[in-house]
């Protein structure tokens, strides 16, 4: 399969710079540990927010770190789309007889992000071991769907940013609000924020669908019928549809920069 060829190529090229890839991965893990330390200090100092304690929040931290870094690793092409435009790589992609989305996925794979993926998984496991969850088969399925939904939503967000950069050519800093902003917002239960902020990051940008809502289901929290919490990752994943449509529409409007 073509993707395998691309994949092996990326593996080979990052193995050429093994030390560099490793150093970048370690740095990023250290940065994540810094963020984790912040979360820990908050709970050390203030014990809890509402009925949410440290380990529930730790699980959120683990989930968002895993899915965000996973998306950054494999959907890097969308995240750095402005670069593809500026260097003219996009022009070359458009004339090839292969699906554009496939090419974007295949063109950039950044293995250094996997360090953070590992950290996220480790943190998730530690949190799950400390939480008193009465496991059922549904809860296991919901937990798995959480990670899938997370990767799908973050990829969708990267697509929006990529679509916008078709018009701006530069990576605009305020796209940061929905990428890194959403990421940092998701370190904590979304109900600590203002109602409007929480609504935007639930209904428009469905970050809550892969942390706050399904974790409420796992823990048995919340006032809505449990089934709503349970299917939220599935509903959240639908977010990718408008994202793909938006991205395709932007590509139709694309004019080459001539480089």
């Amino acid at each position: 399969m073509l993707y395998n060829k691309y994949f092996n190529m990326h593996v080979k090229s990052s193995m050429q710079y093994r030390l560099n890839t490793l150093l970048i991965a370690i740095t990023q893990v250290v940065i994540s540990l810094g963020e984790l330390a912040t979360v820990w200090i908050m709970f050390k100092q203030f014990k809890s927010v509402g009925y949410w304690g440290f380990y529930e929040t730790l699980l959120m931290f683990g989930i968002i770190t895993t899915v965000f870094s996973f998306a950054e690793c494999f959907a890097r092409g969308y995240d750095e789309f402005a670069k593809l435009i500026r260097t003219g790589t996009l022009d070359r992609m458009l004339i090839r007889p292969v699906n554009l989305h496939f090419q974007i996925f295949a063109n950039n794979i950044e293995f250094s992000k996997l360090g953070r993926v590992v950290l996220g998984i480790v943190v998730s496991i530690i949190a799950l071991m400390h939480l008193a969850i009465s496991w059922t088969i549904y809860k296991v399925l919901v937990l798995i769907s959480v990670y899938i939904c997370g990767v799908v939503v973050i990829t969708g967000i990267f697509m929006i940013g990529a679509g916008v950069s078709v018009f701006t050519v530069e990576n605009l800093e305020f796209i940061n609000i929905i990428t890194n902003g959403g990421k940092e917002l998701s370190f904590y239960p979304i109900n600590v924020y203002n109602k409007w902020l929480a609504r935007i990051f639930t209904f428009i940008l469905p970050f809550a669908c892969f942390n706050y809502l399904p974790i409420s289901y796992l823990m048995g929290y919340g006032s809505l019928p449990q089934v709503i919490y349970a299917i939220s990752p599935l509903v959240g994943s639908l977010f990718i549809i408008p994202c793909v449509l938006f991205f395709n529409w932007c590509i139709k409007k694309y004019q080459s920069t001539g480089t």
Binding site: T27, L33, F174, N176
Partner: protein, 264 residues
């Protein structure tokens, strides 16, 4: 001295061109500000001893307004110079390398700070009372805030030279700035305002250079310490500034002896 000031001016002017970037940045900063205020309020409840919610709100807005000088960067031109070997031109110039970099860095940091802080200050001052940036506690406190802020920027420059030094060793700017910024972020009150940390930790951090960058000026502004303590702390940060610059110069000198120029 004149040529160093020339470098400062050149990088100041270079950075001041990016106005659209600054506006887009201000929007982002505004979002972070709102988010942090909600987050910290939820945790703090009615406030903690010696750090009221109103003080926290002001601290957060100041942090967003002066964001450009809170973190450490390796100047872009230095990165490319180290990576592609152009750095050798800096060696042959009859100027001190440390000073060249230091003045360029301060120039661009000052410019991006000046571009960004006004819109945040203006918008944050007209928000509803619970989210509003308050005025400084007193005129002397405001003047000391300005002095501490300038020293803070100079200390930021001195610490960034350590990141440059690390870049020399690792040849990876992303790595070196990342690590230095985790230290500055955690110990300097950027990730979490220092008054929210456990007291035992604060007692140590109050005498470290990292808090001098932005935590000290902000706390003078919100009246978290009296004028006398503020003066003592400013003297401590001046001492740190001198010490950091001397250590930085010595380190750079020793690393230059072993430098291998990349490429050509």
């Amino acid at each position: 001295m004149g040529s160093y000031f020339g470098l400062f001016k050149m990088h100041f002017k270079g950075e001041i061109q990016y106005r659209a970037k600054a506006i887009s940045g201000a929007l982002t900063q505004f979002f972070w500000g709102v988010m942090y205020i909600y987050l910290y309020s939820a945790f703090m409840g009615r406030g903690i001893e010696g750090f009221s919610t109103a003080q926290m709100v002001t601290y957060v807005w100041l942090g967003q307004a002066f964001f450009a000088m809170r973190f450490v960067n390796v100047p872009k031109n230095v990165c490319t110079q180290i990576e592609n070997g152009d750095i050798c031109y800096n060696f042959v110039r009859p100027l001190n390398l440390y000073n060249q970099w230091y003045f360029s860095y301060i120039g661009s940091t000052l410019a991006s700070t000046l571009l960004r802080f006004i819109p945040i200050i203006v918008v944050a001052s007209i928000l509803p009372a619970s989210m509003r940036l308050s005025l400084p506690v007193s005129l002397p406190a405001f003047l000391l805030f300005l002095i501490a802020l300038i020293i803070g920027m100079l200390i930021n420059g001195a610490i960034s030279m350590f990141a440059v030094y690390l870049t020399f060793i690792t040849l990876s700017t992303r790595g070196s700035t990342g690590i230095v910024n985790v230290v500055v972020g955690l110990l300097g009150g950027v990730y979490l305002p220092l008054p929210m940390l456990p007291q035992a930790l604060q007692n140590v951090l109050n005498y470290m250079p990292f808090r001098c960058i932005s935590d000290l000026p902000f706390r003078i502004y919100i009246g978290n310490m009296d004028i006398k303590t503020a003066l003592v702390q400013i003297l401590i940060s001046l001492a740190w500034l001198i010490a950091l610059i001397i250590i930085g110069k010595l380190l750079l000198k020793s690393s230059l002896k072993k430098t291998v120029i990349q490429g050509g």
